[in-house]
């Protein structure tokens, strides 16, 4: 079999043979003589050619998945940052931390117009991407359900470490000030060039590929970032290898207030919940958020059951789950949560709202 392998190695994709073919074709087309007319360039260029190839290699795969993307301004690209929400994107960043190219990494991302991102600082660009993704309906920044954004910096060799640190700082600044980023959980990872290219080859967003051992499933498919982090304990388990930024306390409070307002609009009593909301710290807010989401799920199940039986839902009390019963993974699509505390009641099922819950990934 060695003979067979040798034969294939010698003939298939033979590097020297193809080069000869190209030269022969160039000769036939009268191109080869043009090289000879040119004076020899300064050898400094050749000296640095290999270095440049190596340094820029991570930018290579960026444009591989989107044939719609025009040739990027590759001369300015110095780093790659990928963003996995559910739509996944890869950003090329120049020495000023500005995005010079953006490429969709999956089909969902192709549906989003990202032209406005070009030229923005990378942190702002990521914030705007989150907002665009929300506008497109892939996530809802205002509902009770947490959304997760995995930002992965692809590490280059040599001189770019400082560049990577600067990009990290730029992102940190925007995490403190930008609304969309403050509304989501941001997980920052680093990936090697090898991981980046392997992910490209397997058509897997690099952030998820880095989490391979955690998100890969038995059938070879991958959990989305949201699916993975929505499961209790997974986010905490990654604290040692990733920087995790939770959403802003202020924005979380706003989201809960909006949910409560919606509950009130449905005739529910929210007095106790509002009282708890007023005095809650961040961890208590998160507990309240989970409680409302779980309650919503209970109500949804109840409504579905009633609808199946053809009976109207009339003022049935909704039990508030105890903290031990709060299971974030039991999420339906709790946008605009409708639940409450022990004394909260639901006057009637809101089918129209349920119908509007379906577009979250």
């Amino acid at each position: 079999m060695r003979h067979l392998k040798d034969s294939i190695q010698q003939h298939a994709f033979n590097e020297d043979h193809l080069l000869k073919s190209i030269k022969a074709q160039a000769s036939l087309d009268g191109l080869s003589s043009q090289w000879a007319k040119q004076p020899k360039e300064n050898t400094m260029k050749k000296k640095y050619l290999g270095w440049i190839l190596g340094m820029m290699v991570i930018a290579v795969g960026i444009w591989t998945l989107n044939p719609k993307v025009e040739a990027p301004i590759i001369t300015q690209t110095l780093a790659i940052v990928t963003v996995d929400i559910n739509p996944s994107f890869a950003l090329s960043v120049d020495e000023s931390h500005l995005v010079v190219s953006i490429v969709a990494q999956n089909e969902d991302a192709l549906t989003i117009d990202t032209s406005s991102i070009l030229g923005l600082p990378v942190g702002q660009a990521i914030n705007d991407l989150v907002q665009l993704t929300s506008d497109a309906g892939f996530i809802d920044l205002l509902d009770l359900e947490d959304d997760f954004v995995v930002v992965t910096q692809v590490m280059e060799d040599g001189t770019s470490v400082e560049m990577m640190d600067q990009i990290h700082l730029n992102l940190e600044q925007h995490l403190q000030t930008d609304t969309a980023l403050q509304s989501v959980q941001v997980i920052q990872l680093k990936a090697s060039q090898v991981e980046f290219f392997e992910a490209q080859e397997k058509d897997v967003p690099v952030g998820l590929y880095v989490l391979n051992g955690n998100v890969a499933q038995a059938d070879g498919s991958y959990l989305s970032a949201k699916e993975f982090f929505s499961k209790a304990g997974n986010l905490e388990a990654l604290q040692s290898q990733a920087a995790v930024h939770t959403q802003s306390e202020t924005l979380l409070r706003t989201r809960i207030e909006m949910a409560l307002t919606e509950l009130e609009a449905q005739g529910m009593l929210t007095t106790e919940l509002r009282t708890r909301l007023e005095v809650a710290n961040l961890s208590e807010l998160q507990a309240l958020q989970t409680e409302l989401m779980t309650t919503y799920q209970a109500q949804l199940n109840s409504n579905q059951s009633e609808n199946a039986q053809g009976t109207p839902s009339e003022n049935k009390p909704i039990e508030t789950p105890s903290p031990s019963e709060n299971k974030p993974e039991d999420s339906g699509s709790p946008q605009r949560s409708s639940g409450g505390s022990t004394e909260t009641t639901t006057p009637q099922a809101n089918q129209s709202e349920q119908a509007g819950q379906g577009n979250k990934n």
Binding site: M1, R2, H3, L4, K5, D6, S7, I8, Q9, Q10, H11, A12, F13, E15, L18, L19, S21, I22, Q25, A26, L31, S32, Q34, W35, Q38, K40, E41, K45, K46, L49, G50, I52, L53, M56, V57, A59, V60, G61, I62, W63, T64, L65, N66, P67, K68, V69, A71, P72, I74, T75, T77, F197, E201, K202, G220
Partner: protein, 168 residues
Amino acid sequence: MPYTLDDFETIYHATYPRLSRYAFSKTRVYSDAEDLLQDVYYAFYQHLQKTDETLKNPQAYLFTMMDHALAHYYEKLDHSASTLKEDSPIFETIPDELDMELSVLQKLSLDEIWTLIESLKEPDRSLLIGRFRFDYRYTELSELFNLPETTVKSKVYAAIEWIKQHIK
């Protein structure tokens, strides 16, 4: 122009292993991938002759060219044909590692073996090339060609058997 033929060859050799593997993984058809490679490198050759600017990232440029070539390739391709179906019985007992010492193959020159390989039908030929040219594992070929791993193994095994039979 800032480039010489030597520069082209340097870039060519520096990028060829990765670009060829990439073209193969995206087309999954050996002959198509080779054609695309030749087209892309030839266009790059022409570009280097015309350009007045120095590319800071020639490899990225080449991959971008390859992506454009692949886009045209996909446009022409009947995508229904690219979804491979299982069209042969699965040999459940295919060994994980095929017998690597098939003495009958030693009787032929490398060129003669290649002639037989070239006459294989797709995807058998490309599976064989993926396995022995790029050292893809069966699991990787399974993902790449969207075929069960056992089918990949059976096809590779059957292709080798077919070659052996034609030698006899």
